[in-house]
């Protein structure tokens, strides 16, 4: 039964509203508007801007902006995507679908990194950085050597190994009623239970805080103090700014460490001191030197993280606005241990 036949049948059955033809609504899009939004890239390279990047450049940017989730070598930390390896695993019991082992087109890498990465700081990479990261990912997958430079000119020459293994939807691949009359009675000799969900026991139970929702503690003494000194408008502004942070840092009830440490009680905490989080050596060293997070030190750190703590794992490039930094401190002061 072809999709196209269905469409023909539907076209007859569904009454469309009157209209069609042009109503003169909307306005013409300006060329600079189209250029600003038209960011998509196709397998044939259509849409790629001028630019280039080497594997070596890519490694530097990747370690700074991507490795916190994907690992230095694209191995994936926690449950974040693995980007490299997995060759020959697609027929295995547990396939590892990476860019090298699964993705059909390199343009998809360039397009996606450019439009949606780094997670929580989308569309912040320069075109050359995207070329460089893409080159580095090719290198991690053993598809180019370390001297390689990717550019608009040579982009279409690079093919990913799994391109030929995709094919269009062949469904229906299960029986139709017309082909296999449906059995309604005495269909089976015996019925046995072959598997039970309870064996695995992975169903979430109520009572936890599964969404990681931000809940402000109000009951305890220290919180009441912190709130009395709080500028509510500033804290509210901080809640908005905090959206830039929450991809990696949790606050509130039931917090866990994510890509970054949780920030309950961060004001007053010694840098690099939270149990159970793997800090960079640089951050642990700062704590050993006596760095304690206060509104002032947090302000200095967030202005330019990599200047204040060189080699911190935090890939966030910082908050330019002093107002935003003050708002973040006010917001975070509400969350105690």
């Amino acid at each position: 039964m072809s999709r196209f036949l269905n469409v023909l049948m539907l076209a007859v059955l569904v009454a469309a509203p009157a209209a069609a033809g042009q109503l003169g609504l909307g306005r013409e899009a300006a060329p600079d508007e189209i250029a600003a939004w038209d960011i998509d890239i196709r397998p044939d390279g259509a849409g790629l801007p001028e630019g280039s990047g080497t594997v070596t450049d890519g490694e530097e940017v990747f370690v700074e902006r991507c490795a916190i989730c994907h690992g230095d070598f694209g191995e994936g930390r926690d449950r974040w995507p693995v980007l490299a390896g997995g060759e020959g695993s697609l027929t295995a019991d547990r396939p590892e679908k990476t860019i090298g082992s699964y993705w059909p087109y390199l343009s998809t890498v360039w397009d996606y990194v450019h439009r949606a990465m780094p997670f929580g700081d989308a569309q912040s990479l320069t075109d050359d950085e995207v070329y460089a990261i893409t080159a580095y990912i090719l290198y991690l997958n053993d598809l180019v050597d370390e001297e390689f430079e990717l550019s608009r000119a040579n982009f279409a020459e690079v093919r990913l190994p799994n391109e030929e293994n995709f094919f269009d939807d062949p469904r229906p691949d299960t029986p139709l009623a017309a082909e296999a009359p449906l059995c309604m009675s005495d269909c089976k000799d015996e019925v046995k239970i072959t598997m039970r969900a309870a064996v695995l026991d992975v169903t979430p139970e109520d009572g936890s805080n599964p969404t990681g929702a931000v809940v402000v503690e109000t009951g305890t003494e220290p919180v009441a103090e912190a709130q009395s000194a709080l500028d509510p408008a500033l804290a509210e502004a901080g809640a908005k700014v905090y959206k830039k942070c929450k991809g990696c840092h949790q606050v509130g009830e039931g917090v866990k460490n994510r890509a970054g440490p949780h920030l309950n009680g961060v004001l007053g905490r010694t840098a690099g001191s939270l149990d159970g989080f793997r800090y960079s050596k640089a951050m642990t060293a700062k704590g050993a030197e006596g760095l304690v997070w206060t509104a002032e030190t947090l302000n200095a750190f967030l202005e330019k993280p990599k200047s204040f703590v060189p080699k911190t794992k935090m890939s966030f490039k910082g908050l330019k606005s002093a107002d935003d930094r003050a708002a973040i401190a006010a917001y975070l002061s509400q969350f105690t241990e």
Partner: protein, 419 residues
């Protein structure tokens, strides 16, 4: 006062509810009057909230357990994750807006409608920009459609895993959309003769994109701005989203900002690395758009056990097909040996959820409940074993296999598979 406390939790059902049972209640009633009748409750003697107290109404405090739930171990972070519709708490065919499952890839975009724009460009005579007000000046339509994530039931490929239809089947919702046929907007821009594909793009931090073939866009796609009569919820794409009836949910781009018209597909991340179906031989299906015929019994189910003991029992569930309407649903109580025709009640609409019922006198013995749907194209919901034969266990998406609930004598239900 007991009656003013929270609604029944799942645990409460399993302990208190089951212990009481139907027989105990009947025996008690014969001896002495029930407190619920003999004593006046506060809501009968005291004034309640006035009309100013709830300017946007919310459900009863006793329904607090009816909510979307997340499966934390599924994904790396709740910002790029999914939660599930509590199907076992609903009836009829419409999903309330606040219970429609959410799936977003970079969190909820909080789009200011005054700054929302929709651009149509590429292979068109005249590239256009629309405001929300422009959109609302086109002739509009109302359509009820289900939206199902292609990964719904995806955790069950290797066998029974999650105990509850909310988790096994809850990546679906069914609402009435009000919107403008996409064809009207494309006509306004004027398609060039070589136009064949569209690339809708979201305005969120994932800038979600999918390649949509032009024939589908011209057939029945909408740009919707209302769901169930009110503005789209932020988590469903406020102020406007794409509606792609019957096709996998990932294509229904939310917070839509742009549609590019082209002559070939873009092969973007969500149609290559994701939403392609890996077969056992290592090859992968792409562009698997239609959601095939599927059904599930929502009550009883692991989160909604039978609490009334033997006697009259209502078995109910939902069925749907991305290829048309649902023609019939069959229910078995013995694991597929004998099937009964279920009763479809309520509207039977194209690419919309259908509600079915099967009522019978339960003898209190264990049940192996299943439902099997047949759609208007004659496609039959397959067994999970049949799907595994054809596709293996690593295709993640498009698992429309028959679900089995094992109901024990005490009314509790478990997700199982049968031979």
């Amino acid at each position: 006062m007991e009656s003013e406390k929270r609604g029944p939790s799942r645990r409460g059902f399993l302990t208190g509810g089951l212990a009481m049972g139907g027989a105990a209640m009947a025996a008690g009633a014969a001896q002495a009057g029930e407190k619920a009748i003999l004593e006046l409750p506060p809501w009968t003697t005291q004034l309640g909230d006035g009309v100013d107290a709830r300017p946007y109404g919310t459900p009863s405090q006793f329904e607090a357990h009816v909510r979307r739930r997340n499966v934390a171990w599924l994904t790396a972070d709740p910002v790029s994750s999914v939660n599930f519709t509590p199907l076992h708490e609903l009836d009829g065919i419409i999903t309330p807006n606040g219970l429609c499952f959410e799936r977003h890839h970079s969190g909820i975009a909080e789009v200011d409608p005054a700054e929302w724009r929709l651009m149509i460009h590429g292979l068109v005579e005249k590239p256009l920009v629309f405001t929300l007000e422009d959109l609302k000046r086109f002739p509009r339509v109302n359509r009820i459609h289900f939206l199902e994530c292609a990964a719904n039931s995806g955790m069950e490929w290797r066998g029974a895993q999650l105990n509850g239809c909310q988790f096994t089947h809850g990546m679906i919702h069914n609402v009435m959309y009000t919107g403008v046929p996409l064809k009207a907007l494309l006509d306004e821009a004027g398609l060039k003769p070589n136009a064949k594909w569209l690339l809708p793009e979201g305005g969120d931090a994932a800038a979600m994109t999918r390649s949509v073939p032009l024939f589908k866009a011209l057939d029945d796609c909408l740009i919707a701005f209302k769901m169930n009569g009110e503005a789209l919820r932020p988590e469903q794409g406020y102020p406007a989203r794409l509606v792609v009836p019957g096709w996998e949910g990932n294509m229904w781009v939310k917070w839509i900002r742009r549609i590019e018209v082209g002559d070939q597909p873009w092969h973007h991340r969500e149609e290559t690395s994701k939403y392609t179906d890996l077969m056992a031989n290592g090859q992968a299906r792409r562009f698997t758009w239609e959601m095939d015929v599927k059904s599930v019994i929502t009550n009883p189910s692991p989160q909604a056990p039978i609490v009334h003991g033997p006697g009259p029992l209502v078995v109910t569930g939902v069925a749907w097909s991305g290829r048309g309407t649902v023609r019939e649903v069959h229910v078995t109580t013995d694991g597929g040996n004998n099937w009964h025709q279920a009763r479809i009640d309520g509207p039977s609409l194209d690419r919309s959820m259908h509600r079915f019922y099967y009522e019978f006198d339960w003898d209190g013995k264990p049940l192996l409940l299943q439902s099997r749907a047949v759609d208007s194209e004659g496609m039959v919901q397959p067994t999970k074993d049949r799907l595994r034969e054809v596709r293996g266990v690593n295709s993640i998406y498009h698992n429309n296999g028959i679900q089995t609930w094992h109901v024990r004598e005490n009314g509790e239900a478990e997700n199982v598979e049968v031979s």
